[in-house]
């Protein structure tokens, strides 16, 4: 096991896991907290959760890979989400993704070489009135046109 990088959990995270350890059905809540702190769930982090909760790694990995929300790779400094819910899809969500790919050479699920941006296609951010919608680092941009994409990413470059 020596070739596995050590991962450090903050004291708050460790305390949270201890608090939840005795609660039934704690695993998903714990994984949310880990992702909140680390941005994703690495294999090493999963190992650590297995140890702290005393649950087999296979169980944890099974859950992590089942749910879309949990990320297995480190996202970019600015995570871009483009909504592909039905309303956004009909109003040109895919064109925004294509434009981002053109501008940043960034495909869905990838990170730019400089680590600044990552791109995710998501289902419904819940602002269908603003379709098509994209978010960058949590900031929402509505009624986005292809021409606005360059301006939006420039704000975060």
């Amino acid at each position: 096991m020596s070739d596995i990088n050590e991962v450090t959990f903050s004291p708050e995270l460790v305390a949270f896991i201890k608090e939840w350890k005795t609660k039934q059905g704690n695993l998903i809540m714990v994984l949310h907290k880990v992702q909140q702190e680390h941005g994703y769930i690495s294999r090493e982090a999963a190992d650590k959760v297995a140890e702290l909760l005393d649950v087999p790694l296979a169980t944890i990995w099974g859950v992590v890979t089942f749910y879309h929300f949990f990320k297995l790779t480190k996202p970019g400094k600015h995570n871009i989400q483009v909504c592909l819910g039905t309303a956004c899809y009909l109003k040109g969500g895919q064109a925004i993704i294509d434009e981002l790919d053109k501008q940043l050479n960034l495909a869905v699920g990838e990170v730019t070489e400089d680590g600044n941006f990552s791109l995710e296609a998501v289902r419904c951010v819940g602002c269908c009135g603003l379709a098509p919608v994209m978010t960058v680092s949590g900031e929402v941009f509505g009624k986005v046109t292809k021409d606005q994409v360059a301006g939006i990413i420039a704000k975060f470059s």
Partner: protein, 595 residues
């Protein structure tokens, strides 16, 4: 202390995304700066529903409805409206006939609506329990605790005729009664707030705008069936709703409306939030329960139904957010009152998220029995950009399309199934002539294939096979035989899948084949996509009569497929064209045509 004016600022997710919080802050600042802070109360409310026009600010008592407000408008709103009593005409919804159409009740978007579930959204501050209580909040709980037996409560729900709003429409009183009748010392109450249907946000807005109504209803259920613990399973993608629920739970505990010995009745009930993690299948009740237990969200065979054997094997009542939000009203106004709203088969109202190619996107609540035409044209204002109506899709990835011919169908649970769609959770997506129906079917199918948990073969393999065939059709390689195959596989999935996700996944395909067979045939036989959506079937060409030879398209073409001298007609070399459509976007003369 009475205030001279009340300013309501929409704090729903869509408006917050357009800087509603900054508007709220600026209004507070301006009131202070202009010396009216003591005379005006500013409240951040839940969603007004009219998202197309957001951010929205409403000023009472004049009932002025300001739309598309910007943070920098705060100064003018205070100095003009509040200080001088003059409405800021340029921000009113209908500028031409300002005063006449400025009132909420004059706005067509609201006229045919009837709000039960959304009764408090846009009226109260969802972060203040006193405002909920002031609007009859927690009176239903009081009645349930001190005046009614469990049997009375179930009888009231039966009289009301309330059916589950999550999609299936199962009578709520029956669920509650099943759980009540099982003898067990531990039972659970669960709120399904895992709103995964793309294009739907009814539940999120309800929780953001009126969280206490769900807490109150769950507590009433706890008392009825004999449960002391509740869970709200909510999408992690809804941080604002989670935040407001947490505040609401805290305040309810402080007021003795949640927790131990509620209102001194000796009844204990508390609620915990559990987060989803982005799995659509977890909206299915047995999968949802697995997920609360911390496992992979795989559906389980039913029976046993959760009402009898649910969370950790205990009797569990699980209802959707909208169903819960109806219950406090039924308790205060009575089942009889509720049963008179809507149709015989489906009483009450239904909230829809009206989106897509519609003029007024937003959240609408209408009595059951309202026709689709009323929703699309009277409330929604018709199709945006003067395009032609094509279809409405209801029920999300489980539903089907409804065409022009059926627009006058009064909506209820039964009628939508009869015309080949379903109620679903309430997404209503309007499509216009520019949308390709085969592409839409493929979109939904890709969604369900992606979200299939993989447990049962009909869903896992059937869904993938359907997608492959649709892919074949949209790339111009389809055969007429494929249409039969789609139907055969779809039928097998419908009969053989374990849960509703697989059983309903073929619906978008089957219903579009039924209503738009011509369009499928155009893709298969003529190898064309009538709306020009399916790139592989599209052919761009330049109309010689319109082309003036400006060379703009030739310069923009990324593969140099366009040739032609200046002031001469240009030609696209079809063997080089990659169908990116840049030429069409570039041409100012409409000379590039799509076939």
């Amino acid at each position: 202390m009475a205030f001279r004016n009340y300013i309501l600022v929409c704090g729903g997710t869509a408006c917050e995304s357009s800087h509603a919080d900054q508007i709220y802050q600026n209004l507070l600042e301006e009131c202070k700066a202009q010396g009216v802070a003591d005379e005006v109360q500013i409240v951040k409310t839940g969603c007004f529903g009219f998202c197309e026009q957001g951010p929205i600010v409403k000023i009472l008592p004049e009932d002025s409805f300001y739309v598309k407000v910007k943070p920098e408008d705060a100064k003018e709103l205070i100095s003009e409206h509040i200080l001088k009593g003059r409405e800021v005409t340029r921000l009113l919804y209908d500028k031409e006939s300002s005063r006449k159409n400025a009132r909420v009740e004059d706005i067509k978007f609201y006229q045919k609506q009837f709000r039960i579930v959304l009764r408090n959204c846009g009226f109260i501050d969802p972060e203040n329990i006193d405002e909920y209580i002031a609007r009859e909040g927690y009176q239903g709980l009081e009645k349930a605790l001190f005046e009614m037996t469990s049997e009375d409560i179930i009888e009231e729900l039966k009289t009301a005729g309330l059916r589950g709003r999550g999609g299936a429409g199962f009578p709520t009183w029956m669920k509650w009664n099943f759980s009540r009748q099982v003898e067990d010392d531990v039972k659970y109450v669960v709120c399904n707030a895992d709103e995964g249907d793309p294009g739907a946000y009814m539940d999120r807005s309800t929780l953001e705008g009126d969280p206490h109504s769900v807490l109150e209803a769950m507590t009433i259920c706890g008392k009825t069936i004999g449960a002391t613990k509740g869970f709200i399973y909510i999408r992690a993608e809804y941080p604002l709703a989670i935040h407001r629920l947490e505040i609401a739970m805290q305040q309810a505990r402080e007021y003795g409306l949640l927790g131990e010995n509620i209102l001194g009745s000796g009844f204990d009930f508390d609620i915990e939030i559990r987060l989803g993690a982005g799995a659509f299948v977890c909206g299915e009740e047995t999968a949802l329960l697995q997920s609360i237990e911390g496992k992979r969200g795989m559906p389980q065979p039913r029976p046993p139904f959760p009402a009898v054997k649910g969370l950790w094997g205990r009797p569990t009542v699980i209802n959707n957010v909208e169903t819960w939000a109806n219950i406090p009203v039924i308790m205060t106004k009575g089942g009889n009152w509720f049963s008179k709203i809507g149709t015989h088969d489906s009483s009450g109202t239904k909230v829809f998220a009206l989106t897509g190619k519609i003029r007024n996107s937003g959240l609408v609540e209408v009595p059951m029995g309202t026709t689709l035409r009323e929703i699309v044209y009277d409330i929604g204002g018709g199709i945006a950009n003067n395009k032609k109506f094509k279809a409405v899709q209801t029920g999300g990835p489980s539903g089907g399309v409804i065409t022009e011919a059926e627009l006058d169908t009064p909506i209820d649970f039964g009628s939508l199934v009869r015309i080949g769609s379903m109620m679903g959770s309430g997404g209503m997506i309007v499509m216009d002539e520019d949308d390709c129906i085969v592409d839409v079917a493929k979109f939904y199918l890709n969604f369900t294939v992606d979200e299939s948990c993989g447990k049962c073969a009909p869903c896992r393999i059937g869904g993938r096979s359907l997608t492959n065939i649709l892919e074949k059709i949209t790339s111009g390689n389809g055969t007429l035989q494929d249409l039969d195959t789609l139907e055969t596989i779809g039928e097998a999935m419908r009969k053989g899948s374990l849960c509703a996700l697989g059983q309903t996944a073929p619906n978008p395909v089957l219903s579009t084949i039924k209503h738009f067979k011509d369009e499928y045939i155009a893709h298969i036989v003529d190898k064309t996509c009538p709306s020009g959506t399916c790139k592989k079937l599209v052919r761009y060409s330049i109309n010689p009569e319109k082309c003036i030879g400006c060379t703009a398209c030739a310069r923009k073409c990324p593969v140099a497929a366009i040739s032609g001298e200046r002031k001469q007609v240009h030609i696209i070399d079809q063997s080089l064209c990659i169908k990116c459509g840049v030429c069409m976007e570039t041409c100012k003369f409409g000379a590039v045509e799509i076939h």
